[in-house]
């Protein structure tokens, strides 16, 4: 169970043709992600992180190469099958939260389940409440995004990403808009989800954020230059340490 590869990528290429130029955003990528891994994807700007994550999230298709998620080869799927696959198997967390404005936290969290006709209204609500409890926002269910802090909004977004019980959670710069303290809080939350067995792929360009994961994949010019398991640091401890330091500097 532990070592089952839920994501397999073989010789993946993604090219963009802009005018007469061809951009090789991804240029021969190979890796697998097993169930329960917490992978950080690093690299400089333009190295292909987002492009890779979009393909992992079935928003985009590779130009060539193979991508298998949970036993399904994505290349063969049509556009509707891809939608269903995203709806059932994938949870997205974006840098800018992407919550629906003027929509309560609980309604935002329910949104993915609305596109799954097998789920009743009652179950939808129960699962949304459970997801909001998992991100410790049970007291903010009826709040609108503009009544929540950035960190809280990102936690609503994380609740939305886990409400469909996805095979993998994909996060693109999920802490990119947050200050250090809030970033650590969010990472603490991700670590909790990971410890409960969730598989996470986390794009970041901040090395200290990457230390909270269990494995780092480093991209440069569309190719993997480093792929290694790392010693996972505790985000909760880092947060405590940070607050202690802050107190000192305040005094």
């Amino acid at each position: 169970m532990e070592n089952e590869a839920i994501i397999q990528i073989r010789d993946l290429h993604r090219e963009f043709v802009v005018g007469s130029e061809t951009v090789h955003a991804l240029n021969g990528i190979n890796f697998s992600i097993c169930r329960g891994e917490f992978v950080s994807i690093m690299g400089t700007s333009g190295s292909g992180k987002s492009t890779l994550l979009n393909i992992l999230g079935c928003l985009d298709k590779p130009s060539s190469g193979e991508y298998i998620i949970n036993g399904t080869s994505v290349n063969k799927l049509n556009i509707n099958q891809l939608s269903t696959l995203r709806n059932r198997q994938i949870g997205f967390v974006f840098q800018n939260y992407n919550l629906l404005a003027r929509t309560t936290a609980i309604d935002n969290v329910q949104l993915p389940l609305l596109y799954n006709s097998n789920i009743s209204a009652k179950e939808r609500k129960e699962r949304a409440i459970a997801a909001l409890e998992a991100v410790k926002l049970q007291g903010r269910m009826d709040h609108f995004p503009n009544q929540l802090s950035g960190g809280q909004q990102q936690r609503v977004a994380i609740a939305r990403a886990i409400v469909n019980d996805p095979v993998i959670i994909l996060a693109d710069e999920a802490t990119g808009n947050l200050d250090t303290r809030t970033s650590y809080e969010i990472m603490t939350l991700f670590q909790e989800l990971h410890s409960k067995g969730k598989t996470i792929a986390f794009v970041t360009h901040e090395p200290d954020i990457a230390t909270f994961t269990t494995r780092t994949i480093k991209l440069r010019d569309g190719q993997i230059v480093l792929d290694e398991n790392i010693q996972q640091q505790s985000a909760a401890e880092a947060l405590a340490e940070y607050e202690k330091n802050m107190k000192h500097t305040m005094i």
């Binding site: 939608s83 992407n98 609305l114 799954n116």
Partner: protein
């Protein structure tokens, strides 16, 4: 995504921009309301014409002598209708119910010191049935009065008002017309003005035989001004007209190919001419109203485009979390359909109210066109789908990655 959720989402989205939603609806409201008003007013006016005509007797048939032309010169009305025609018609008609001749004569009516210049209508007793007059008081003259050329008359309300200024009971009184004294034996119920604005109560009915023998100067008259007939029913008036034509032609020895020396008019013909006019007007006005609906629809389309562009990020997000193109398409289509349906509903209410107000102001029958309401509903759905289609398709065809990155 099931229908209920879809509608909920659309309504939430629409209430977020109440002002804009309302302004968009306004175009639809005005369009639908004006269509309803125009169609309803058109229908009331047709009904108005119909009810006026049927108050004159919708199964009435008028037979007049044709204007005789000789060598291209109009010789005036002929004298083709006579007692023989009347008798033959009375004997042999199957579709005709009543027949009454009409001989008229202008006359100065005198009672005491009061004068009234009116006209005498020489008719038979069935004239009342044919023209839908009712006796208010007294009696109508009888066949016996016709035989004896009795000097009796039945008068209308206007005549009574003009001659009996002291409030005397007219019945039993004798009025003078020239040299002839006429005893009033009945008074008609008031009928008011007809379609052409003529006073239908300024009338003195006299046995036609009386007019023909006593008012024709020295020689007695043999010809009628015209004949009035009534068919057994409104539906049968065309049959009756055909039958009368046939009888009169053979009576007058008119050979095949020769023109009739008389003219027949049914109310049915008059009605269809009148309703043709109102119909053309209705179609014209409705077309104008339809244009305003078209303008409303274009406004709706415009706003839907704005909405789709504004919500690009939302569309990207919905697609990322599993919305199919079909779901996105339906979401925006249902928004535009709901907008136009609500607009249409308000428009129908306003249109119905305006139509009722207009009808009561014009004193026309209050009709609300049910078919216009039904069609309006369908038109609203069609407007919503038609004008929402391209914006919704634009939304559905977005690329989720690009849409998510849209600022």
């Amino acid at each position: 995504m099931n229908l209920l959720n879809l509608i909920k989402i659309s309504i939430t989205a629409l209430t977020r921009n109440k002002g804009r939603s309302f302004l968009t609806m306004l175009g639809i409201i005005i369009g639908i309301a004006s269509v309803i008003v125009m169609v309803s007013i058109g229908q009331s006016s047709t009904q108005n014409v119909r009810s006026e005509l049927s108050s004159m007797g919708s199964n009435m048939i008028m037979i007049m002598p044709a204007r005789s032309m000789r060598g291209g010169v109009d010789m005036g009305t002929g004298h083709s209708l006579n007692r023989k025609d009347l008798e033959t018609l009375e004997k042999s008609t199957k579709y005709g119910q009543h027949i009454s001749p009409m001989v008229s004569s202008g006359a100065q009516l005198v009672f005491g010191s009061n004068n009234h210049s009116g006209s005498l209508s020489g008719v038979s007793a069935s004239y009342l049935d044919i023209r839908k007059y009712k006796l208010g008081a007294g009696i109508m003259f009888t066949d016996n009065d016709l035989k004896t050329n009795a000097k009796v008359c039945v008068v209308g309300k206007t005549v009574v008002e003009k001659l009996f200024t002291n409030g005397e009971d007219p019945i039993g009184q004798t009025i003078r017309c020239g040299r002839v004294p006429l005893k009033i034996i009945g008074v008609l119920e008031s009928k008011g003005q007809n379609q052409m604005g003529q006073d239908q109560d300024d009338i003195v009915l006299v046995p036609y035989t009386t007019i023909m023998t006593r008012f024709a100067g020295n020689k007695s008259r043999d010809n009628f001004n015209m004949l009035f007939a009534s068919a057994t029913s409104e539906e049968e008036s065309e049959m009756a007209a055909t039958e009368i034509t046939y009888i009169l032609r053979s009576n007058h020895d008119i050979k095949a190919g020769q023109d009739d020396d008389f003219e027949i008019r049914t109310q049915e013909e008059l009605l269809s001419t009148m309703s043709e006019i109102t119909q053309v007007l209705t179609i014209l006005l409705t077309a104008i109203a339809a244009i305003s609906l078209l303008v409303g629809g274009i406004g709706l389309m415009n706003i839907m485009y704005v909405t789709v562009t504004e919500r690009t990020k939302e569309i990207g997000l919905r697609m990322a979390i599993g919305a199919k193109r079909k779901d996105v398409m339906l979401q925006f289509l249902s928004e535009s359909v709901i907008l136009s349906l609500i607009g249409g509903f308000i428009g129908i209410i306003i249109g119905v109210c305006l139509a009722l107000v207009a009808a009561s102001a014009l004193n026309w029958p209050k009709t609300v066109s049910q078919s216009a309401i039904g069609i309006s509903f369908l038109v609203c759905v069609a407007t919503g789908v038609f004008f929402g289609w391209y914006p919704a398709r634009k939304a559905a065809n977005m690329d989720p990655i690009t849409a998510l990155r849209y600022e």
